[in-house]
Symmetry: D2
Subunit: 255 residues, 4 copies
Amino acid sequence: MKINLNADLGESFGAYQMGNDPLLLKTVKSANVACGFHGGDAWVMTQTVEMALPEKVSIGAHPAFPDLQGFGRRPMHLSALELKAMILYQVGALDGIARAAGTRVSHVKPHGALNNMACENASLATVVAEAIREYDRGMILLAPVLSELAKAGTVADLPVALEVFSDRTYTDAGQLVPRSQPGAVLHDSEACVDHVLRMFEQGGIVSINGKYLPTPFHSVCVHGDNVHAAETAEKVRQGLEAVGYTIVALPEIDL
Amino acid sequence: MKINLNADLGESFGAYQMGNDPLLLKTVKSANVACGFHGGDAWVMTQTVEMALPEKVSIGAHPAFPDLQGFGRRPMHLSALELKAMILYQVGALDGIARAAGTRVSHVKPHGALNNMACENASLATVVAEAIREYDRGMILLAPVLSELAKAGTVADLPVALEVFSDRTYTDAGQLVPRSQPGAVLHDSEACVDHVLRMFEQGGIVSINGKYLPTPFHSVCVHGDNVHAAETAEKVRQGLEAVGYTIVALPEIDL
Amino acid sequence: MKINLNADLGESFGAYQMGNDPLLLKTVKSANVACGFHGGDAWVMTQTVEMALPEKVSIGAHPAFPDLQGFGRRPMHLSALELKAMILYQVGALDGIARAAGTRVSHVKPHGALNNMACENASLATVVAEAIREYDRGMILLAPVLSELAKAGTVADLPVALEVFSDRTYTDAGQLVPRSQPGAVLHDSEACVDHVLRMFEQGGIVSINGKYLPTPFHSVCVHGDNVHAAETAEKVRQGLEAVGYTIVALPEIDL
Amino acid sequence: MKINLNADLGESFGAYQMGNDPLLLKTVKSANVACGFHGGDAWVMTQTVEMALPEKVSIGAHPAFPDLQGFGRRPMHLSALELKAMILYQVGALDGIARAAGTRVSHVKPHGALNNMACENASLATVVAEAIREYDRGMILLAPVLSELAKAGTVADLPVALEVFSDRTYTDAGQLVPRSQPGAVLHDSEACVDHVLRMFEQGGIVSINGKYLPTPFHSVCVHGDNVHAAETAEKVRQGLEAVGYTIVALPEIDL
């Protein structure tokens, strides 16, 4: 029983620190590394890759809309061609840094508003999937369960790793409860662990109203905005190991 | 007798047009493509690569300081580690776009102030050369003749292509006459052609004072800031072909 | 009979040239000056103000979404508080440059996607109007006729100058025909002049289907994306002067 | 006996937090507010001004080189005209936000590399001083004691407030000991307080070698890079009040 844990990393920028990357790198096995559009810069990316290597954490690109000041969370509307080019630019940039460090980018997970929009909008999802396929047909797309993005990845014949979130609740339709609504985010570490273990027991997600939506999944996103992200991540890991799971990097998962 | 012609291309940005890329792509055989730091953006880079492919023009990365507003012409002082990371980022970004288009970046030529500083400063030159070597030991460094940058490329065991400029005159020490001085730039197409042919006849550069500095060279940079750049480039090409040279892409040159 | 002609100016950026500002400044009497978010930079803004002064062209701020690469034409979704702050930032920046040159910003006209969205969305329009009022209650809002933006300006008790476009056609509802539709843009100078004169004769706009929508207006926007913008602008000016109008700066219009 | 305490504030950017502004605003009486070029953004600037107002902390602009990723600490070389325009842009932007909040920018203090370079380079110092004078002849220039910047401010007939640093030591020539040298920065709060009180007792600065350099000064910069900045600031304040000083905003100092 193998499962992956992933987190968003490398989101510092210049003099600005964000997150607790060294701690999270002790827990997760795949890192979604910011590529300079919503966070991260060339030197932060380099340091993140170099920290991930000895921890055997696999490297993923975390491309975003060009919106550093909004941290990639603002919906933007770009042409399909521009967006595809921007994704290739970001994936290539991180892969350049990874190659220089003796490793490679092995997955892609869109960030923020780009991810949210690609989960709902099939044509945007197709743009993302095609950008990845044009770059490398063997590149893993890390996408939320039950999303248009996951579907588009399958259509594009990419290896698709499905993820669930440890600290976010789901609607009856299987989408994340919007952050603006009560109960959207689980703030307590124990609640996160329970939430994750329930999804494993059920073999799918359980909505905020108790509705069961069966789906395979390969990865748990343990990154949260709260200050206890690293601590929660470690507890989720321990909870999964306690029930017999081995935490592995994404390329070690059978997709 | 094979020689390369190179030019800076893909320097448009968003709604801003610069240069006459379609015309230059009919003349040169290697393109130094802006990577988004001093000019260019992901979509411009994509279009440039796609235009270069059918013309069999080889693709080079043209990394720069992060200074779009100054077009990469302002001297900046970055740490060696940051600068190396920025070069890898830019080369990787363009290579990502190139790979998606079914080709590859085959050379690197620094842009503007970064190039000027790396031609004079041995430690900066070493940073540039090491960034390229870390990315790919087979990547060609395109560097001015008699420069610290060319030396650093040789020390780093990179294939180094040496270039002369068609529209710039040289000091007795072999450096470009600074633009601020009279006679630095040749504005007349015929003068450029004569200048280039003289360098070929002499097997080296002839300074503005007539001093002869022997040096091999493999490429002529035909890009100029003047509006007649494409026309001048074509005349230089015709002049070289008339005396028996074949214009080839950089990877076809024996280095 | 006084009327204003306005145009978007100062949209160059660094080494990138855009538009034909010196020519347009001979024709229009009010300039909407880019403030660095979609185009323009501090030095371009300074030069634009200094060119406008001797021509007695009044200075307006042309604030935009933070999207240089998309030239401010991409819809973005920002919080009201962030957007208001960005407008104040841009208006203040231009006014700082104007004060140093011995003049002042006298009007504000939003740019691109921000303008389009504020013309349709009443709450966004209110944000724009309130930003201007907070800066200076006497500042003129230059807004399209029949728009939510114009209404919001009136509600905010700002002096509102209503504008019509010389090269754009209107729907039966009084909005601009989207550029994606045929007939949206008038490409011929004579057609532009006829279009403008018809609006003056009718005292309102005439839609693309011939529907008459009465509305006062105080200014004609003569800036177009086509290469003949300056020529068309001059013909519109001559056409208006021929029927007895005097072209004046916005602050000279009774609002 | 009136003295000012100043600190750099408003250096957060988008989702990136920096500094402990609410605490520092309880201690200092003048804030040097980042203007978006090295840190800060329109919304951060707005919040900073709104937090400063009820604390009766005077607002200063803290203009910088355009280098967010380098936090304005990288030496850059811009033309005098471009730099002057950039300073006016930044001062105007903050003043726009301040006016909307019912207050005004009352001083300017350059940031980082721009400040360092203007302290040593008389022509750069003149550019800074002239930009401020062109904006407003009554605007206070806050400049380090014994600097070229202070001299240029006096020549430009600006009100010049001289500052000393609470946590930095001085060379025998009166310049800050470079951070790269041992002893440059005082890390201990008590050491900072002693350092400041000694300068008050002596009526000048005492170099790291014990050399006494008499100079008037009007303000103490209490901002430091260390995590205890707010605590140190408060101790310096208490130390000064204990020996009879009243801490006032810059406009209340006789210059």
